[in-house]
């Protein structure tokens, strides 16, 4: 407390503290754990109601997948020429969302962006759940998932004794996505261990003592632990950074390496990564705003955090916009009749409405963030975070489905109509995502306690250069 008062008010003006209010280490533990610690019985009714709803939507997902596997891909709207439609659209959509988590925890960590601490935990969790949702589609979009689920991995199999085709981007996908999920999980759990220890030590009931006790692996915060822990965390962050960039690049190869006009584009990797960060941050934003409001975390998730994220949304959104423009330019400049037609068809063909809702949501609307008032207005950022994700879903749909509807031979052109199964399946994944997130929010600390305390310790001494060089409190 006192130390904050000592700070130069002017500096304080520019860099408001990331952890507000008279919170001390213990108060921080109290504040964060209080969400997790009440007995299950004491959980507010509204939580159970929401959980019940999302859980039943998750059941719908189960039903749809069962129906799909029992009957065939024909229950979806996919056809010839549109072999991929909502299935792969949803896959790329969820994978994209899954990028913010690792990005925030890894890249921002390397850049010493301390403001990440209060959001990285939930962002990482979100990543895991999003990747789970994404993972459903590559498996279930196959005609024979009962074969695909092990023929897609390089496991020696006796039934046909063949191997994978490593020239195929789909195999790269299998490696990238499974690696990404594993690494994110390890990263997330590593970050959790000290906080689990905190929960263990605060636990009052035996069951909590046991559960958190086992999960925290006997962590006792010894300096001998911390030295390995910090090194490891740095390494994980270090390797996750190229990983997170690689995953969506690989996903973009699914299209970039093909010959189909509208897919066959070299700018896809950066363009997809930017789009992924864009949608990921938007999704984190949505969840954070809800959490902040419902769990009163205003002191921990400050306007500053949110504004920083909005700046990133603005930047990535503009990169995506640039990519769109670039595609059109290249299509025109290439002089290739098929390319030209594809992009004209995209904007003015039968799917013009999809294309324009994508341009609007992804490029035009985020431009509002040039204005600080907009960047810092909770309602504005909430709405934009939603529209951004709508726009990004459409981006994937436009790229995947509408490029397929009209390719080289006019005689093989077609149109895609989704079926109710398509829709329910997508809805179901949203249900799964929310259910997992609700459970996480209820039983695990949504905010990295030890890291927040760490940041707190600097801000108490704003003018001592932190051991990490950058003067604490300085964010940029």
């Amino acid at each position: 407390m006192s130390s904050i008062v000592q700070q130069d008010p002017q500096l304080l003006e520019q860099n408001p503290p990331l952890v507000k209010g008279g919170v001390d280490y213990h108060d921080l533990s109290e504040k964060i754990c209080s969400v997790v610690e009440p007995e299950v019985g004491q959980t507010p009714m509204k939580y159970w109601i929401v959980l019940a709803i999302t859980a039943s939507i998750t059941l719908l997902l189960g039903a749809m997948l069962t129906y799909l596997v029992a009957t065939g891909i024909g229950v979806w709207g996919n056809n010839k020429p549109v072999g991929w439609a909502w299935d792969i659209t949803n896959f790329v959509f969820w994978i994209g969302i899954g990028h913010a988590g690792t990005l925030i925890s890894a890249i921002l960590f390397l850049f010493r962006q301390k403001w990440r601490t209060s959001i990285n935990r939930s962002a990482e969790a979100m990543t895991l759940f999003a990747v789970m949702c994404a993972g459903i589609f590559p498996l279930f979009h196959t005609g024979r998932p009962w074969r695909a689920f092990y023929w897609l991995f390089p496991i020696p199999n006796t039934d046909i004794n063949m191997w994978q085709n490593f020239r195929s981007p789909l195999i790269w996908d299998v490696f990238a996505v499974s690696t990404y999920f594993t690494v994110s999980l390890l990263f997330w759990f590593t970050g959790l261990v000290p906080d689990l220890a905190t929960l263990r030590d605060r636990a009052t009931t035996t069951i909590r003592q046991w559960v958190y006790g086992l999960l925290s692996l006997g962590w006792r915060g010894s300096a001998r632990h911390w030295r390995h822990y910090e090194a490891a965390y740095l390494i994980l962050a270090g390797i996750s950074t190229p990983l997170v960039l690689s995953v969506h690049s690989v996903v973009s190869f699914d299209f970039a390496t093909s010959v189909i006009p509208g897919w066959h584009t070299t700018i896809f990797p950066p363009y997809f990564v930017a789009g992924a960060i864009f949608s990921g941050f938007a999704c984190v934003m949505t969840l954070l705003l809800i959490a902040r409001w419902s769990l009163n975390l205003q002191d921990l998730i400050t306007i500053k955090h949110l504004e920083n994220m909005n700046k990133i949304i603005l930047v990535t959104g503009s990169i995506v916009g640039y990519a769109y423009a670039c595609e059109f330019f290249i299509a025109w400049y290439s002089g290739n009749i098929y390319e030209r037609f594809t992009f004209l068809n995209r904007a003015f063909g039968p799917y013009w409405w999809a294309a324009w809702s994508m341009y609007t949501c992804n490029v035009f609307i985020p431009q509002l963030y040039w204005i600080k008032k907009m960047r810092t207005n909770l309602w504005v950022m909430f709405i934009i975070s939603i529209t951004t994700n709508i726009g990004m879903w459409f981006e994937r749909f436009v790229i995947i489905a509408t490029s397929l509807t009209r390719d080289f031979l006019p005689t093989s052109w077609g149109y895609f109509h989704p079926t109710w199964v398509d829709m329910c399946t997508f809805l179901g994944t949203i249900g799964l995502f929310l259910t997992l997130f609700l459970l996480f929010a209820r039983f695990l600390p949504m905010i990295a306690i030890s890291e927040v305390k760490h940041v707190r310790s600097y801000e108490k001494h704003a003018f001592k250069p932190g051991p990490l060089g950058a003067p604490a409190g300085k964010v940029h």
Partner: protein
Amino acid sequence: MAHEETAGLSAPTPLDLLKEKVGLGPDKVYAVMGDFAEPEQLVEAGRKVRSLGYTKLDAMSPFPVHGIDEALGIPRSKIGWIVIFAAVLGILTAQVLIYYVGVINYPLVIGGKPLFDFTFTIPPTFELTVLFSSICTFLFTWVLSGLPRLYHPSLNYKKALAASDDRFILVIESDDPKFDPQQTAADLAGVGAENVEVVEG
């Protein structure tokens, strides 16, 4: 303290047996421990006791206190070297796998492309490298820290649990050549530690 009365008893309690397992004889002294309110004080005290000649030092804190390693003379982590090894292993695995399945075990002409070419091995190789190194990092973090474990004598310290909340604990272990319960306790109190206590293992 409770332990001092029960010290002489011959019949070993389950706790004693557990201690045996973790290499601590019954009623063996583990360390002298004391705590502080702020990380800076901990670091400061650490330096001081070290200057007094203590070598077997440890600290417990709710978050990594920077400078504590230097203060207590704890060496840097070696985990990086292990991970580099894992990364190389990942690269080799991918290359060998792709070459073996594509050229030796089941050669197929696909898209008029060569049976093996460096270009299309890049993505899987990269992913396997990352996968191997991260798994290895994760495992060795705990192995090197001697975790997971169910029990540690430091838990006998009455403020032990606060180490995950808001207290910063300094530990001078009993196997320190200069260790002597009374004297060490006095020294620790001397550097400003609170709740100084001789903790039995």
